[in-house]
């Protein structure tokens, strides 16, 4: 059997010279395909990825109430989240040492200009260690919205800050509707602000849908105040009796933390709330402790 070459069955007349793609038409086709791909990715995210992430958020925890806070802003004015009830708030956790945070600020200034009169405000919570660089940056960029210096506890109430910027979008009803980790296009916030401005301040905006590319880490998971305000930060002791609490704390005092801090487990928890190893070890100790002394057990 004779092998055919690829062109054996192709009549020569079909190879018309005008059928050849020019570099210009190739470029145009490439550009059109790129645009189609971007549009396709947008819709895949909007109707497939985002709803899948949102599906994990269903139930009462879907749009949890934003933890309230009372701080003093860098101009000396009180800054209470509860004062903004009825407004849409974009709450931005950021720092001056964070390049991706800084690049977002002009967009936030613009959003404040555009929507402040419609019931919106930006709030900045800086996680800088001192106010000086924040004040300098605030003045340099002529920031037009309140900025306060935050703290670890506030960050934990909002579910911890694995990375900055981390920005929350809060509705008129005081619920957290969206969370964005990392520098985000201002149009994403604008889309969400518009949607929430149109929503009722009385009821949860159940049809709200997070704009932009949504990742699993964008799921809104707030911190547990029982763990955050615990005598052993990060560990919920509310089910323990006073006697058990003391016993557990003594146990942690007798254990050395292996994170490299050279403290006991108790001290490491108290001085370094961000230490994930001491938290894990302290929880393991609690689980073991409760096996020997279950909640409610009292010594005679």
């Amino acid at each position: 059997m004779e092998e055919q070459t690829p062109n054996d069955n192709v009549p020569q007349e079909t190879k018309a010279p005008e059928a050849k793609a020019t570099p210009r038409s190739k470029l145009l086709a490439g550009a059109l395909m790129a645009v189609a791909l971007v549009v396709g990715l947008y819709y895949v995210n909007r109707y497939w990825i985002a709803p899948a992430v949102k599906a994990q958020n269903k139930g009462d925890e879907s749009h949890p109430l934003a933890p309230t806070f009372s701080l003093t802003d860098i101009t000396g004015k009180p800054l209470n989240l509860s004062d903004y009830k009825g407004k849409v708030v974009v709450l931005d956790f950021w720092a001056t040492w964070c390049g991706p945070c800084r690049i977002e600020i002009p967009g936030f200034i613009e959003l404040q200009k555009r929507y402040a009169s419609q019931g919106f405000t930006m709030i900045g919570i800086s996680l800088d260690e001192s106010p000086e660089p924040v004040v300098a940056f605030y003045k340099e960029l002529q920031m037009n919205y309140p900025v306060a210096i935050g703290n670890d506890r506030l960050g934990e109430l909002y579910g911890g800050m694995p990375g900055l910027p981390t920005t929350f979008v809060i509705g008129r009803d005081g619920r957290v509707y969206a969370k964005h980790i990392g520098a985000t296009d201002p149009h994403v916030f604008e889309e969400e602000i518009r949607e929430l401005l149109a929503a009722s301040p009385e009821a949860e905006a159940k049809t709200f849908h997070q704009a932009g590319v949504v990742f699993a880490d964008d799921k809104v998971e707030l911190g547990n105040p029982a763990e955050i305000d615990s005598e052993v930060p990060g560990i919920d002791l509310t089910k323990l009796t006073a006697e058990q609490k003391e016993g557990y704390k003594k146990l942690l005092q007798s254990k050395v933390c292996t994170c490299g801090c050279n403290f006991t487990l108790l001290k490491c928890r108290q001085v370094d709330r961000r230490c994930t190893l001491s938290r894990k070890l302290a929880q393991e100790q609690l689980d073991a402790f409760l096996k020997t002394k279950p909640p409610g057990a009292t010594s005679k």
Binding site: W97, G99, P100, P165, A183, V213, F215, D217, C261
Partner: protein, 178 residues
């Protein structure tokens, strides 16, 4: 077209990568000596070998912009050893979406050298030198809080008549102490 596709996929992957790794340390570091032991009244070369996780960078010891937090090596005071100098490598200039200018950063593996001086009358024995490798890491989209890796190095001081053997030569080749 393939390049456009690759770019898009890499961008999406990079965004995911950053937070997929958040539970793992972004920087791992340990300290080593240039010799198996040290002599009293002699210089002691040590190095900190650090590995920055893929997708992340940490700032140069001399950052490009004022607001960036420099990478630093902080050695605790010791009665037996004094710090003569610390030598940082030169960073690599890299352009990021959040900066108009390329930033000098460290990525991947880096080695920081430290030249110590053992005290004149340090008796033979084993001593601990402690320190911290301090850094602030970012990827192209977000930053992590400044933090540090605790370091502990055991230095064995031996009598002058005991010869010292070079170790970790591949590490110390990367440092210019002069």
């Amino acid at each position: 077209m393939r390049k456009i596709l690759q770019g898009l996929v890499l961008t999406l992957m990079a965004a995911h990568l950053g937070w997929a790794q958040k539970s793992n340390p972004v920087v791992e570091a340990h300290a080593v000596m240039a010799t198996d032991a040290a002599h009293a009244n002699s210089p002691v070369k040590i190095a900190v070998v650090a590995q920055v996780a893929a997708g992340y960078h940490i700032n140069d010891h001399k950052p490009t912009l004022d607001y960036l937090i420099p990478t630093d090596l902080k050695l605790e005071h010791s009665d037996q050893f004094s710090v003569i100098k610390v030598v940082f490598p030169k960073g690599t200039p890299k352009k990021f979406t959040f900066s108009d200018v390329p930033l000098s950063v460290y990525e991947g593996s880096l080695v920081v050298g430290a030249l110590l001086q053992a005290g004149k009358s340090v008796p033979a024995g084993t001593y601990t030198v402690k320190g911290k490798f301090a850094y602030q890491a970012c990827n192209d989209h977000a930053c992590l809080a400044p933090t540090s890796v605790p370091l502990t190095l055991m230095i064995k001081v031996v009598p002058k008549n005991v010869p010292l053997k070079p170790v970790e030569s591949n590490v110390f080749q990367r440092i210019k102490f002069e």
